[in-house]
Symmetry: C2
Subunit: 339 residues, 2 copies
DNA sequence: TGATTTTACTGAAACGGTTAAGTGATTTGA
DNA sequence: TCAAATCACTTAACCGTTTCAGTAAAATCA
């Protein structure tokens, strides 16, 4: 089954391939008579011609593809969205990209953390990396001259665009909110804290709030595992075993808050009566929880949209580096009670 | 900033481009001396050469890309994973693909339902479509000779590979389980029921079970909206307003079950005391629900893996059509009580 | 009316690889 | 010892587009 190419169309319409190319792309500043144009279009439909995107990309050095790499939250696990934040974010990215007739080239992390594989020589027009930590993987990318936007990454760099939130402030807001409600024994539960990662910032915010309020920091109140429902459940068990010292917890991701709720309930305890919880992100799940989760809301949809927009801007020639810190705020729901 | 191409490497190493190509691909049945090979590799690292994937794809007619199209559950909404089933499935697909060094080209539905856009002339090696209904979109695809696997799609076709489950059986199992527990006033809640879609099958199963048990079917017991948490919550309200006639509900997707639980609780009612619920899919959320959701479990991970495997098989020359019906079973959790 | 611009094309050189078909030199086999 | 096979490469055609630089004819201008 021979594939039909632009040549076949040209032959069918009795014109040169260049002309065909001009009409199917309706290239500006090219004058083609209506008559010829029509003839070519007819030939296209008749032969059912579909342009080869690889050839097109090769010639035009434009792929209409945005690479998106999302880290695994639990290394080695196949489940990419164990933190639902990533699912929500990806949705938004995909939606925005599609509006601009871009597609997404999706990838989990390459085994060697080498983002470059996905961005290989003009295989994508731009690349969005979410939640990377400063690694050599990022440096490699620099060699390409393709636009990169780093989402939720704290890396000082003169070139990469960034979009994120003030995670430290967020952590502080969450914790301060709890303090305001009368709590002083406040757990911090999170995944591993990577240097310069968002979780580290949120942790700093937690400590900031404590310090501001003159509450001593207790290392025992910090629970570090990974960002998953299961870990949070286990953490609840652990807190119970230790005798329920804390009256509140700041869960650095909503999914952790949900795990806490469930873990507690499993043992007959209740949120917020036995433990007040504030989460982070306001993923769509947060309102589904029972009790629904009081959380630090960030506009995930805007985050995705902005990231795509930065790529688009860069592709269309905007040379300057863009940075965006999106606003956050507490949304009060049911998981916190006054002490 | 000039891009380095295979020619530069060839020049640097003092060999022809063909030789370079052979070395970097280590093409079988080509003998290259260790010496030359080493020299070329050195040149590659020195110049930091990265092959252009578009050129490679063009020449080799292989892209190492699998197109994945996921329908919007709520048209016009940007949120692709409002049914978390898709997120779970995508995770699995991505993971499996990556194991075989494939990447994913992700797309929501094109406005015109034309899947062909994503699959354009050899732009992907294969395409996985999940939850399509028989449309002209599918027919268009046929013109390309690229492998297609349809996930959760009931379409009789001599060419497309399919992977799915027996949704009708699943619906029957869920309903029969409820009947077995003593229920006879059983609601069916679902999204719109598309002709030949999975929800229709599950609905048929629901009716099958009713019929087998000699329980009359009540149209009032069926609630059709869309597959979203919000809709299920609204449905709970509606059931309450009608005076709680049903004692149980078969939610044709877990997210609906979760919405029901929450909706009920919001009004002071409880699951399973006031309503028994069985869900469908066993998405990772199902066990996070409170009470955790009794549901018809399907192996979402296997589904994704199988879909990718079918593409891989087809790409590597396996000509015959493959079909897989994965097993399902009830997993008993907390959302159903004996009447 | 002749010079100039515009219109409607065409030719061919990229784009950056892959791969079938050579081609000499060196090994091997009998 | 010599033909045949193997080794280590190279040549060049090809993949299917885009796009720059023409070019002849038609239209416009002074």
């Amino acid at each position: 089954m021979k594939r039909v190419s632009i040549k076949d169309v040209a032959k069918e319409a009795g014109v040169s391939v260049a002309t065909v190319s001009y009409v199917i792309n309706n290239t500006p500043n090219q004058s083609i008579s209506d008559e010829t144009s029509l003839r070519i279009r007819k030939a296209v439909t008749k032969l059912n011609y579909i342009p080869n995107l690889n050839a097109r990309s090769l010639a035009s050095r434009k792929t209409n593809l945005i690479g998106v790499v999302i880290p695994q939250t639990e290394p080695g696990k196949e489940f990419m969205f164990s933190n639902p934040f990533y699912g929500d974010l990806l949705s938004s990215i995909e939606y925005t990209a599609r509006q601009h007739s871009y597609h997404l080239l999706l990838s989990g992390p390459e085994p060697n953390q080498s983002y470059i594989n996905i961005a290989r020589n003009r295989s994508v027009d731009g690349i969005i990396i979410v939640g990377a930590y400063p690694t050599k993987g990022l440096d490699e990318l620099r060699q390409l001259d393709i636009p990169v936007v780093l989402v939720d990454t704290y890396v000082k760099d003169p070139v990469y665009h960034t979009v994120g939130i003030d995670d430290r402030l967020g952590g502080k807001m969450a914790t301060a909110y709890l303090i305001e409600k009368g709590h002083s024994k406040i757990a911090f539960v999170s995944g591993q804290i990577e240097e310069q990662g968002v979780m580290q910032k949120r942790f700093q915010g937690y400590r900031d709030a404590l310090e501001d309020a003159g509450i001593p920091f207790h290392q025992d109140f910090v629970y570090l595992g990974n960002i998953s429902f299961e870990y949070a459940q286990a953490t609840a068990d652990e807190m119970l075993r230790r005798g329920r010292i804390e009256t509140a917890a700041f869960a650095s991701a909503d999914i952790l808050g949900m795990g806490l709720i469930k873990g507690l309930r499993r043992q007959g305890f209740h949120v917020p009566e036995d433990l007040s919880i504030v989460g982070f992100d306001d993923v769509s799940l947060a309102q589904m929880a029972d009790p629904s989760l009081t959380t630090v809301r960030q506009d995930i949809s805007a985050k995705g949209k902005t990231a795509v927009q930065f790529i688009l801007d860069a592709v269309s020639g905007n040379i300057e580096k863009q940075e965006k810190i999106l606003p956050i705020h507490i949304v009060e729901r049911e998981s916190v009670k006054n002490l």
